[in-house]
Symmetry: C3
Subunit: 256 residues, 3 copies
């Protein structure tokens, strides 16, 4: 049966996620529901975008991805469904789908008159996801829509011999995900963050001693900085938006 993944900021304490699942299983009996996360920080569209961009392509073709982090519910923001690479996406038009390639097929979902003005996840997005899971063509769900709203995502820039990027995500282990890529480090480059030297690129955590910072290419392709057996974000006192630099030698010494 078709898989429907769910990504929300609803949390798992209240009734909201289960209300959505009840609608999905009523309208698409037998669908396989998979939680991506319901613990996106409330209203954090950028975090939701990063999580979904890492996940969707791990699922089989035909999967429907329902993503509802929707601080603008009830405003004029559009409700979207999209198809790309044989996957389907249903989400508010607030940037959560920024990872979709240009030219992705998009439709705008109508908001039914009986839809709660505060819970489109249940009353607008879930019914659309169920229809896609049942095999309805995307074009039958609404009228064609232009490109979605795209987040202004930070891009690294060059300052002399140094690439300057930033922290784009901090995971539950305190690992700091940056937007720097391996090729920006050169052959002998080192990472710098929060006034500290985070060393050269390593292969994995175990390449440094416990309690030391370790930089490596993360599982989604950009450089991440962790603390072996610890929480890098806490120790460095950094959050999303903090500056990270890839510097090439010679460079003055910094504390490790």
């Amino acid at each position: 049966m078709t898989i429907i993944t769910l990504l929300t900021d609803f949390g798992l304490r209240d009734s909201y996620v289960a209300e959505v699942k009840g609608v999905l299983l009523t309208l698409a009996p037998g669908a396989t529901l998979v939680d991506v996360s319901h613990d996106v920080p409330p209203g954090d569209v950028r975090a939701a975008h990063i999580v979904l961009s890492r996940v969707w392509h791990r699922f089989p073709a035909g999967t429907v991805h329902l993503a509802v982090v929707d601080p603008g519910v009830g405003t004029a923001r559009r409700a979207l469904a999209a198809a790309a690479n044989d996957h389907f996406f249903v989400a508010p038009d607030n940037g959560i789908l920024s990872f979709l390639p240009t030219g992705t097929q998009l439709v705008e979902l109508p908001i039914g008159e009986t839809a709660s003005a505060t819970f489109h996840g249940r009353d607008v997005f879930a019914p659309a996801a169920a229809r896609l899971a049942n095999g309805s063509p995307l074009s039958s769900l609404g009228r064609e829509a232009p490109d979605p709203h795209r987040l202004a995502l930070p891009e690294p820039h060059r300052e002399g011999a140094t690439w300057v990027g930033e922290v784009i995500y901090v995971d539950g282990f305190g690992t700091v995900v940056t937007n720097l890529r391996q090729d920006m480090l050169g052959n002998a480059g080192r990472l710098r963050i929060a006034g500290r030297d985070a060393g050269p690129l390593h292969r994995t955590f175990a390449d440094v001693r416990r309690g030391e910072l370790v930089a490596f290419t993360g599982s989604s392709g950009t450089i991440e900085i962790a603390l072996r057996d610890g929480n890098a974000a806490k120790v460095l006192n950094v959050a999303v938006g903090a500056t990270v630099k890839a510097v090439e030698p010679p460079l003055p010494p910094l504390p490790r």
Copy 2:
């Protein structure tokens, strides 16, 4: 296949939820398990009751709802199974099923001699839920039982031109769910909570500015008070049981 929903206060850190699921999938192979929540505050029967009352009717007919928030496990409190509106319910008799209509068909589940005295969720309720999922008639699960224990739920009352209700639930976003209904506000009424004016009824969050209180009819039919892009319960410093008033003009000014 039959759906079994699960609502507990077991949390997701320990083995308990999975032990229950193992029993369910052993006794009812192929059942579709859906978590409602496992993060009900420990022993909070009233919160569990509210969550389940919002959720069960979203699922298709035939669904079995297993709800185990059971501070009285091992006492003389009865173990129940019930059928109403083509849904089935399995739960301790402590008020968690207060939303069931009078006259609901009920049976008392026997407690097997080998059942752990501290884990009826696994040893009493899960096997009963599995049997219902497999199509066993309710009457085969135990002897007929009278009406379940019902929580004494607060009802709004009138004081002159004012309806006085209370906070019955606070969700994970900090939205305050009250027991007041739209008709109690009249045409020009305003909400009052914690010494503050929460304004007239709006349609959705976006009808006020960021950081302002917004009252609206929630997705389950009563009035809720949120803070746009914030946490109303924290800012108001209110919890379940706090007083909320629907006042009609003219009324003296209060800070917003």
Copy 3:
């Protein structure tokens, strides 16, 4: 369809669990995925071992248990798959499978060249679990391996008329799980922990008054100490490793 259970310390906020599930459902379409827990404290192999040892045998024969608490990812620690009692297990060789009987059939999984050095859960263990779910024989997954690494688990010892054990787990309710067994208490023995008398063995919580300590044989067979309607671990200020004694009378009085 085959059940695959998942136990990790990945948390539910990030993309990691869903990345693993995407791989599982791509390689083993139709498998039933069941979360055991993703909230094991980061890197706490001993806690993961206890949770899994309580859970696996509740599932039907043929179930595949995927357990990834893997602080040594990318080091020389082996990746294992095992078969015991008609269940399958896939996990790093760090002690998480210590509960398996001696002589369990084990194979060492090869680490593919394209596997991320920081995410074997997705790139090594999930594909192996999917193959087992699809019916591949264990022997086809890797070369035979000797006994797994086993944790040095604490065993109670005798001091005169007293059995001295320790706290081996603290659950989400604050219930303290010990390694003492009922037979160590004798007929009139009492429990002692953190300088307090925890009383004789009772049957269930309700055998003491609210706010009192209650010792009972837990659902997995050893003695546990709870606080009725409260959090024993917090009130006693104990954690894993704390000493617990089973003392036989006569004994000097201690505060309850």
